[in-house]
């Protein structure tokens, strides 16, 4: 397990951008078996139950999400013993077009010091023309009601999945995202699995590089759309990083959190 944990720089990137991408996560032969299994894998299982008990065993998709490298990724972000939330084999059929589709999953969610993860697995080579899922990196701190952000047809910083078979994206479920047109004659699948933590998400990753001087710069990433809001984004990133890394006073640069926390007139009330 330890060898597959995310390091601190990767976690900082997840805090700043809300996603990470890993090519070659699932071996090619297992990808092919998973692709064959996807159309008939079945629908929702029991929401909120232990993943290990609920997730099927001895099937290609059962095995894929139990690979050590996938388990290490899950553990790094949400800790041990996660709960199954839901899964879906998302299909955009050959030559199926999509209009504006930006949305935030599920319902508006104000939980602090908490996030669910979604694993998005692409079982075949996914080209630009096949319409891989798009994400707006960094939007995970912006709470909106599901599909109302379809208004944002285009946004600076938007990325979309173009990747070889076996690639897995992992993302904070609150990242704004959507599907895209498939301009090929080949059906496009993306298999997603959502998981919940069962305990505080504190230092669940490899913290041996926690003092790496690259981390402040990573946390300060500008995705192109933040503009005048960047320092407010940064304050939310700092709060989550303080929590995940177990550093309650952490701050960077101009220390905007300190600027609203520092107050010598504040007296503790017994």
């Amino acid at each position: 397990m330890t060898e597959h944990l995310l390091n601190s720089k990767q976690m900082a990137q997840f805090v700043a951008s809300g996603y990470l991408k890993f090519e070659d996560m699932i071996p090619k032969d297992l990808c092919e078996a998973c692709r064959e299994e996807m159309p008939n894998f079945g629908g929702y299982m029991a929401v909120g139950t232990p993943f290990e008990e609920t997730w099927p065993k001895n099937t290609p998709l059962g095995d894929a999400f139990r690979l050590p490298q996938v388990q290490g990724l899950i553990h790094s972000l949400i800790g041990p013993d996660p709960l199954y939330d839901h899964h879906a084999a998302h299909l955009v059929k050959a030559n199926q077009m999509r209009g504006p589709d930006a949305h935030q999953d599920s319902v508006i969610d104000f939980r602090e010091n908490y996030f669910d993860i979604q694993l998005s697995f692409f079982p075949v080579d996914t080209t630009d023309e096949m319409g891989g899922t798009f994400l707006i990196p960094g939007t995970q701190y912006r709470n909106v009601r599901t599909g109302e952000i379809g208004l944002y047809q285009h946004m600076r910083g938007k990325i979309w999945a173009t990747c070889p078979a076996g690639t897995m994206y992992v993302w904070n479920t609150r990242v704004w995202h959507g599907s895209r047109s498939n301009h090929t004659d080949q059906d496009r699948y993306m298999f997603k699995l959502r998981l919940n933590p069962t305990r505080p998400q504190i230092r669940t990753f490899d913290t041996s590089d926690l003092d790496d001087p690259a981390i402040p710069g990573i946390l300060n990433t500008n995705h192109g759309w933040e503009g005048n809001e960047h320092r407010y984004e940064l304050m939310h990133r700092m709060k989550l990083w303080r929590y995940l890394s177990g550093q309650p006073d952490y701050d960077i640069g101009e220390r905007f959190l300190r600027r609203i926390e520092y107050n010598p007139g504040r007296v503790a009330v017994a």
Binding site: R180, G227, N228, H236
Partner: protein, 95 residues
């Protein structure tokens, strides 16, 4: 056939018309009732609303500044400001 209204919405992080555009949307009634296939665009059609105005777009709404209170002064949600622009174009045959 009389011209019909096309709408361009430019989203910004400050309300001034010379603020950088960070997101955008088109509702071009002249071209059809809905966008069937959204073609990706890396950059906005105009960098600022005033650039669009210089290309013939008329501003029909601009944003007011927001009053901030402690309870939600740091909360993040939708992009805070937008400029709505209109231009009239001749109706095209729908494909």
């Amino acid at each position: 056939m009389p011209p019909v209204q096309d709408i361009l919405v430019l989203f910004q992080t400050a309300p001034a018309l010379d603020t950088q555009v960070v997101a955008w949307a088109r509702y071009e009634a002249s071209k059809g009732a809905r966008i069937q296939d959204l073609v990706e665009e890396e950059d906005p059609p105009y960098n600022t609303a005033i650039e669009a105005m210089r290309d013939g777009w008329q501003v029909i709404q601009m944003s007011e500044l927001k009053h901030r209170v402690p309870e939600d002064g740091y909360e993040l949600g939708p992009l805070p400001y937008q400029t709505v622009l209109a231009r009239y174009n001749v109706l095209e045959e729908e494909e």
